[in-house]
């Protein structure tokens, strides 16, 4: 059962049977919007990058992105850089796996961001989505579709944070600008 999330909505990552999730995958998919005009058939490639920033009490501790695919503690893994996107309708183009049971005890928030490495704005991207999948059984827990691409090159997609003994996901969808996650830090800090 998928929850279609809206901006700012939070869902608790508890299983239906009350057990807590152990491993989740944050999947990101996108396609290049069809170009209008004369050279509509020219191929354009949009390189969106998914990153995950691990925070301990608002201090960034570790980052998982295309140049550092596994967090030092091994709990967050990036499956690899996708330079073009749109491999399959609805499929994940980039994915970040989070083993929630192995996340170090002091990490209390993991923020997922997307930025356009090639510099196109989200106006040129369509069908971009971010979804959270229970990695143990492949079930989609939540999906958040990016509505109305604007003239910005990055987005703070969602965050997963500790609440009590479990974890909660909050859809953010805040626009930002930047080429890599470092440029996004000022935009991330307010949402922590």
């Amino acid at each position: 059962m998928t929850v279609n999330m809206t901006k700012g909505q939070a869902i608790s990552l508890q299983k239906n049977d009350g057990g807590s999730l152990t491993a989740v995958r944050m999947g990101l998919g996108w396609q290049a919007a069809p170009r209008r005009g004369l050279f509509g058939s020219r191929t354009r490639e949009i390189d969106l990058d998914a990153s995950a920033v691990l925070f301990a009490d608002k201090q960034p501790v570790d980052v998982v992105f295309f140049r550092h695919l596994v967090s030092d503690d091994g709990s967050v893994r990036h499956t690899g850089d996708n330079l073009v996107g749109g491999v399959g309708q609805g499929g994940d183009d980039e994915a970040i796996l989070v083993d929630l049971s192995r996340v170090p005890v002091h990490i209390d928030q993991i923020v997922f961001t997307v930025n356009s490495f090639t510099g196109q704005t989200f106006q040129e991207v369509q069908n971009a989505f971010c979804r959270l999948v229970d990695e143990t059984n492949g079930q989609e827990l939540a999906r958040y579709t990016l509505a109305g691409g604007g003239a910005y090159t990055a987005q703070i997609m969602a965050k997963v944070h500790r609440t009590g003994a479990g974890w909660t996901m909050t859809a953010l969808g805040n626009p930002a600008n930047g080429r890599t996650f470092q440029d996004l830090m000022p935009a991330i800090l307010p949402v922590l």
Partner: protein, 665 residues
Amino acid sequence: MTAELVRGQNHPLSQSRLEIRISAGTPVVAAAALGDESGRIHGTDWVAHPGAPTQPGLEVSRQAAADHRLAVDLDAVTDAVHRVSILLALPAAGGGPGPARFGAVAAPFVAVTGLDGEEVASYTITGLEAESAVVALELYRRQDAWKVRAVGQGYAGGLAELLTDQALPEAVQLAGTIDEAVARGLARSVQAPPPRPSDGDRSRQAATPAVGPDQGGTAPQGTPGPPPYGGQPAGGHGQGGAQPAYGAGPADPSATTGGPIDYSHPRRQTSAPPPPPPAAPQPRPGQPAQPVAGDATGWSMEERLYNQVWGMFEDLARTTAAYRSAVDFAESRMDKELEQALSDPRSRLGGQGDAAREAARARHTELVGQARESLDRDLAHLVAESEVVEPALPPAFARWDNPAWHAYRVPMEIPMAVRLGDLRLPEADPLRIPMLLRLPLERGLWIDSGRADSLDGSFTDSHDMRRLAVETAVAHAARLLAVYPAGEFTVHVIDPAGSGAQALAPLTQTGVLAAPPAQGAAGVGEVLGRLTQRVDLVQMALRGGAPDALPPGFDTSQHLLIVNDFPHGFDDRAVNQLRYLADEGPSVGVHLMMVADREESSAYGPLLDPLWRSLLRLTAVPDDHLADPWVGHAWTYEPPVVPPGSQVLHQVLTRVGAARRAWRR
């Protein structure tokens, strides 16, 4: 682009490893015959047929089938062979069921494809009437290049007539042998349940073999399936050997009921499938799974253990990283909170400040406690894993106190890696990760005989340090000698002043060295000169693409040069040669093991920096100078220690020495 050939037309072949695909719509016998310049078949071993499906460079199906895939490796056939004919025959001609003339069946289609499946040329054999055997294609040598020709020459008298026409003396007998083999094959295939006996080797039966957990035993046995071809270094050669490794041999009819469709990966059949990894016992509910030795991927137990050890290494690095990061965070947070409490003017009054400080410390303790708890949980698992993995390690990976060394035998094969010592982290004291280095060595080793201050604070004087370093070098060299097959590893020693004589005794007394340790400047020059020449020679041969040009009887073993007391006895020329060996040696099998104190060669200045950098530094006492590739922790390296009073090193070296003497004879 496929060239569709008509009868008599030819087409050049750019590849030498080819597949011939035949599809006839009815079961046919496929065979391949080698011919000399005039097309003569010299003997029965020049024909690959269902009774003898592999010949050098050829592989055909074992039985009649509607579809065939034959493998041909033109590089593997002998120089005397100038033609490879692809033959088809109807099994009815030899007494089998089905139509007896090609005129009664659909026109057979033959295609030549590369290993990637791309068709090079194809030919539909039309116009056949009463013939029951036909030469479909001919691959032939023309001015050192191979071509394919569409032949389509039929014979009404069957294979006997066809083979007679190609001047095979035993044509009739061979035709009989083939018919017999085909009849046997058909008999096997009609035993199977599906109600389509005439078409017996089609897909239905593919479901018959039990696909159990030991899939490798049955699945690839379907005889006319794609031959095990891809990825083999020399085409047809090793194929005979690969088949029995699948378990039940072809003589076992119960295993050969499989049809022609083979769902296994065609390129992955060349070697036996790995034995299934040891199954982990089902964990009791609520408890973590029990660790098992070899619980990793790999084609052999050795590879699985190697991967498992690396997995443990990474897990320990990462779980420690999580712990350290949490502790760092807890400390910085406490510092900040303490500072805040201190600077808050209100806290100066009453017990408020103390309470705030107390709270900060409690928060620190709590977080560190939590972090330690999850580290301990992971450590407990890794320790349990280590307890089952260590005893299971083969000698090359095992500690010297492992019983595997008491049962030591000189191996027949080079192991994939060798253990150079143990690695540990201070947070995980009981746990030792084997430090496994891939063989052949990619860089030289440097056993540091300087730096007398060891980690535990005990002071070792420089004399003891040197002796320890030479002993460590001997233990490493002994292990390398022991894990290589006899005669494939040669050790030279340079001990210019003879100072290491006592420590080197295990090597010199057991006769495992190529020559006694070289002494004095003359000895140094002689050994270095010989090895430099060897590196030059092998490099020249390899670069020139002519490894065959090395002199006959050239010793192809790996060489290890142990240099003690560097730079004693070295002149400038010798130093240059040593640097050359360190740079160029590893790629041609000449390795260096320096037992040296870097300080002693400081007179050479930065000249030698590249040398030291190119070597893997090991120590004779525990030292934390090695980093892991994932997080970059400083790991404490512990050299391999032979248990005190143990004779294991001597015993192993004695066996190595005996094996080497036997091998040289």
